[in-house]
Symmetry: C2
Subunit: 357 residues, 2 copies
């Protein structure tokens, strides 16, 4: 368990040592730790060592010149200049927000970036402007399309954040697979079986083995199998891939660069780096903001009070569990498992920073 | 089996008898029969009797004045004036396309409408303009959120159509539930068991009984249960509901009006009619259209050639099965089951039109 402020100081110093400008280091730290606060441990400081290794292998530029390479009043294509996705994506979202202020909505497709942390962070940036925020990204190929054995798509998450008035905002943020890779990693560490529907083996047969990915298996699109709608998860993952990478000029599908630096970059790249897609819609581009937000309050209250199935306490609104987690972790600290602590110590040694839990 | 032209003439005459202007009757017919051609039988002429009954009960206005009630350069809110969704949605999509021509993208939220046929039709309208088209709608509440027993959401479909160059377009069109209601109706007619994960009984327990909806059960969000990601399907259905109805001022969640005229309208409506949301993005608002489309060709070819799992012929691209169905049904005719034939005969009798198969 470590206090948020301590983890933040350490992480900020690591980004500074990598050569990030002060503002970028702060932004990257905020985005990365937002995952830990929200309980999405797989996307927080657990990945810091991964970013450092990518930087060491020359795949991350700590001082990128992020620029718009194509635009219209409501759109832009951004070249992330191999910067940290943690920095590139929020800057692209700022562009989307500015465009939405001017013409109602703003949509930015981003190339030449890399892992951007949790999609929810970027989507939530619209909330304070009374905007609906949207964020998605493609990722290292781990997912097989329906009827295939080949890893063609990433877990390609989608986040949508919608403001309310008295109620907290609606914040959905989910991988377009049955289960995010982070959940599988938890089973791997404890060597527990995975539920059927999460992964398949290299022949395409359903599997319980959480280590199947190392043996040529693949994660499954949301739905799990054709009978339960895996073709819909395959559609969603594909849409994220196309919006993020084919629109922007990044690498798509099986060409998406791996996050881990020990895997080589795919041959014959079809674009530059990883891709993201972000959007912002002013709610008052559709109806007066106070009207919209009071109906969102009503929507949230009605769903929160829906009849509860036996064996459950309550019906959740997207964003509820993460908000409760933030409250708890700000108070009690952030739990780190042993591997993560060792990785952070290794990072600390590299940069002459001490890491203590 | 009936020839497309014969079914088209009959349907067009029915809409004319309902009092639709000539152009509207033709448009409604085209949209409705597009479902039959694409093999989505539940959304085609099988629903014609339903539209007629809604019209008889005064819930459909055959001569609507469809108008923009709020707008910005990239957005509009449209009042469908209780018109046929089959007519309102394509007109709203035309507005989105015009806005995209001007500022790169166009987004239209629609209130005071009703069932709009297949979402794919409206999304595909962007293709000839080299635009990505998006369409979604809320619908009669049949779906329980994760951990709930109450029917709060419709099957709320999402369609996304993306142009390519030499390859046919990518066209995804899917309900945000494990299985569309139409699939359940097929099992009901044949009294076959439904796979677990499609429906729950009124206590919230998984069920195989395809008649469960009549007994207080509910359809399940994509994912089926919490362990397999039903909270993600619940998020998706909610996003469709909010974009379609809270943004526009239509009825949302459990207040969405039922399609069947024998069910009463919900008490204390929170808006007007049913809601839709459509969008259009010019691909050249992000990068030159020829570049985008040639990369889409490459995307499609690469995915179509992904390694195939044992027991399957090939990996499909979203839109492949429907396109093949169109070719077959234009040639061989459209199969109609006995109930649909009887319904169409009843409609014919009502309007002095003969219906023969």
């Amino acid at each position: 368990m470590i206090a948020y402020e301590d983890l933040k100081n350490f992480t900020n110093n690591v980004f500074l040592k990598m050569g990030c400008p002060t503002a970028d280091a702060e932004l990257a730290t905020e985005v990365l730790l937002n995952a830990d606060l929200r309980g999405i441990d797989s996307h927080g400081v657990a990945r810091l060592v991964g970013y450092v290794r990518l930087w060491e292998s020359g795949r991350i530029n700590p001082t990128p010149k992020i620029k718009i390479v194509h635009e219209t009043p409501s759109t832009a294509t951004v070249d992330g200049d191999r910067g940290l996705g943690l920095v590139v994506a929020p800057q692209a979202m700022e562009i989307a927000i500015e465009k939405a202020k001017n013409v109602g909505t703003g949509w930015v497709s981003i190339k030449n970036s890399n892992h951007f942390g949790i999609a929810g962070h970027h989507a939530m940036m619209g909330l304070e402007h009374d905007m609906i925020g949207i964020a998605m990204t493609n990722a290292s190929p781990l997912v097989a399309p329906t009827f295939s054995t080949e890893r063609m798509l990433g877990t390609n998450p989608i986040a949508v954040a919608i403001p309310a008035d008295k109620q907290p905002p609606f914040v959905a943020d989910f991988a377009t697979t049955t289960a995010a890779n982070g959940k599988l990693e938890i089973l791997q560490r404890t060597s527990k079986d995975a539920p059927l529907g999460w992964i398949q083996d290299k022949s395409g047969a359903p599997s319980n083995n959480p280590h199947e990915l190392k043996e040529g298996g693949a994660l499954l699109p949301l739905g799990g199998d054709r009978e339960h709608g895996s073709h819909k998860g395959y559609c969603l993952g594909s849409i994220v891939d196309i919006f993020s990478a084919v629109l922007s000029g990044a690498n798509y599908g099986p060409w998406a660069p791996p996050f881990v630096s020990f895997l080589p970059m795919p041959d014959n790249p079809v674009g530059e780096g990883l891709g993201h897609f972000v959007g912002a819609m002013r709610v008052d581009a559709f109806r007066p903001a106070d009207e919209f937000k009071s109906h969102m309050d009503n929507w949230i209250e009605r769903f929160r009070n829906a009849e509860v199935a036996e064996g459950h306490d309550r019906v959740l609104i997207p964003g509820d569990p993460e908000r409760e987690m933030i409250d708890m972790r700000m108070k009690e600290g952030i739990p780190l498992n042993e591997n993560v602590v060792n990785d952070l110590k290794e990072v600390g040694d590299k940069f002459d920073l001490s890491f203590t839990v």
